[in-house]
């Protein structure tokens, strides 16, 4: 410590020593993400997907000829399956896009408004800020997945029969237990979207234009999906994060088959670590000139 402290401003406003753990900034971040009108509008749009899907199936159920997205055939027997079909339909584009918007905004948005410099001189440690940003994006991804699942359950119950659920393996479980499975599926999807969150966070540290970060993130996801669909490079498919997205179907078996999902979670965690580290390396050494 310097011996030449100025007239120190001791005041009731200050803590004796800085709080080691404080959730204030995290809570502030979540409030920022979840009160922003644009982000809420995206959730509302996501909630419309099950409505569209449900109505379409209801109207067209008589001429069903098989095919279509996974679980679509089960919906007319049990409305709960609308939740799973809705996730299958929104996973390739809508859900990653929603995550890309919030992730792209995370650092680049703060840079473009200049609030990044205000936060950093408070001061907020750059590593801490990045961790909080990632937590905010992942929370939003979870909310997005849960919104689709919840809307699917609600619309499914309104339009289709309910009751004990026949799983893909043929066994029947009570509705309550089936709802728990819906929540688990939502969590798995949220965990899968964490890879998109980390990629988006990294891209967001590269630019001061949030829109560019959002678009780049979305393009990365779509590119990976295209690679995942090319059979000639099947050998790299297990390393692509999108390859494991639909493995949540294994949660609808009895007993639950875990190995696919476990591998999915591992691959996903690897993406989070790699892109989280890249974001950290970039952000902690970057000159903030915005």
């Amino acid at each position: 410590m310097s011996t030449s402290d100025p007239a120190t401003s001791t005041d009731v406003a200050l803590l004796d020593r800085p709080a080691r753990i404080s959730s204030r900034l995290l809570r502030s971040e979540l409030r920022l993400v979840f009160t922003r009108r644009r982000n809420l509008a995206i959730l509302a749009v996501l909630a419309c997907a099950p409505v569209l899907l449900g109505v379409a199936i209801k109207l067209g159920s008589r001429g069903g000829r098989g095919g279509g997205p996974a679980f679509i055939g089960q919906i007319t027997q049990n409305g709960l399956f609308l939740a799973f079909t809705s996730l299958v339909v929104t996973l390739p584009l809508f859900l990653p896009l929603a995550v890309a918007v919030v992730a792209g905004e995370s650092v680049a948005g703060e840079a473009s408004t200049g609030t990044l410099r205000s936060l950093l001189v408070v001061p907020v440690n750059r590593t801490r800020l990045l961790a909080i940003k990632l937590a905010g994006i992942v929370a939003y991804a979870a909310a997005a997945a849960m919104t689709v699942a919840a809307a699917g359950v609600l619309v499914g119950f309104v339009l289709f029969p309910t009751g004990p659920v026949t799983l893909l393996s043929g066994s029947v479980i009570p509705l309550g237990a089936a709802l728990v499975r819906v929540v688990l599926v939502g969590l798995y999807v949220a965990a899968m979207l964490a890879a998109v969150a980390a990629i988006g966070l990294f891209v967001s540290t590269l630019t001061e234009v949030p829109l560019a970060a959002m678009a780049t993130t979305a393009i990365v996801v779509v590119t990976v999906e295209i690679l995942d669909a090319v059979p000639q490079i099947a050998s790299i498919h297990p390393w692509l994060f999108t390859n494991w997205w639909l493995s949540f179907g294994d949660l609808l078996r009895d007993p639950v088959a875990l190995d696919q999902m476990a591998q999915g979670l591992l691959v996903d965690a690897a993406y989070v670590v790699v892109f989280g580290t890249l974001a950290w390396a970039r952000f902690t050494t970057r000159d903030i000139t915005s």
């Binding site: 100025p6 803590l15 404080s22 502030s28 200049g114 410099r117 408070v122 000159d287």
Partner: protein, 310 residues
């Protein structure tokens, strides 16, 4: 004298080789109001960004409040209130919510006093009535005030204010000046940058002048004024006799006319000049000591006026 800010050879070279800040040695004494002057583009904001650890210097180092930066940032920056390159807030949040966001980021303040401190800061800058308005709808002056409020969210030992009067009307400018005076009276060191000289000349005790990335002059206001020549101007009906007297005192006559003579005063007291003139029987109608104002000093130092870049 203890220093609030000390820099040693602080330099920033951007990619492409452009030198924005060129080996500057700032000395900002504790308790001073330090005016950081220079035209737009002279490196003031880049310097401030380095002081606060937002950008890394290419060369040199610096201490803030006695701690080496950026290593001591976590300890030092909570004691520093800053307004960097104009106010920056979330456009879709209200003024109050914006301050709450910044307060939440500060781990050294007591969350229980947050509401009261935010209210006090808003009052202090005259924004209490507009606290619930979205920042997007604030005028430039209100935005600037909110920026000042953010710097005043908690007691500070040092305030770094980058162009705090930008966008303010004359009344607002006067309010900022009086705010700076009040804060300085409480012992807060204030480092305030401006490209508009008259706005800070009245409140500063110390001045540093930047030009093209270099700190070309630094010192107390009086030292800086002293760097330019003070003249004595005598209005009289006998200019020749007056000139003789002045030369006799060792002064250099710079200018004379049919009814006046003026000379470089140097360290000679004006009382002696008056005395000598009267003793020599020169009828003195008027005797004026002409001190250069800072603007003249600045022009003589840099060969350019303020506002040239605007």
């Amino acid at each position: 004298m203890a220093s609030a800010i000390t820099t040693r050879g602080l330099t920033k070279r951007f990619h492409g080789g452009q030198v924005a800040v060129d080996h500057i040695d700032l000395q900002v004494p504790l308790g001073s109001v330090y005016g950081f002057l220079g035209p737009n583009g002279s490196g003031k904001t880049t310097t401030i960004r380095m002081l606060l650890g937002l950008i890394a210097p290419t060369e040199g180092d610096h201490d803030v409040l006695g701690e080496p930066m950026p290593r001591g940032a976590a300890q030092v920056l909570p004691r520093v209130g800053a307004l960097v390159e104009g106010p920056a807030f979330y456009p879709y949040l209200s003024g109050r919510a914006n301050l709450a966001r910044l307060d939440a980021a500060d781990r050294t303040v007591d969350p229980r006093s947050s509401r009261a401190r935010i209210h006090e800061a808003l009052e202090r800058v005259g924004l209490a009535a507009a606290a619930e308005k979205r920042y997007r709808n604030y005028s430039l002056g209100m935005r600037q005030r909110l920026g000042l409020a953010a710097a005043l969210l908690r007691p500070r030992d040092l305030l770094v204010l980058d162009e705090p009067t930008n966008g303010l009307d004359p009344q607002g400018t006067r309010e900022v000046r009086s705010l700076v005076r009040d804060l300085a009276a409480d012992g807060t060191t204030i480092f305030v940058s401006s490209h508009l000289l008259p706005e800070i000349e009245q409140v500063c005790s110390h001045v540093g002048v930047m030009s093209r990335g270099r700190l070309i002059s630094q010192g107390t206001l009086d030292e800086l004024r002293g760097a330019a020549t003070t003249r004595v101007r005598v209005v009289t009906a006998q200019p020749e006799q007056a000139a003789t007297v002045l030369t006799g005192l060792g002064l250099t006559v710079a200018d004379s006319g049919p009814d006046h003579v003026s000379a470089v005063l140097g360290t000679t007291g004006s009382e002696r000049v008056t005395e000598a003139l009267v003793l020599a029987g020169v009828g003195v109608r008027e005797l004026v000591v002409e001190r250069p104002d800072l603007e003249d000093v600045f022009v003589s130092l840099t060969g350019e006026g303020f506002d040239v870049d605007q």
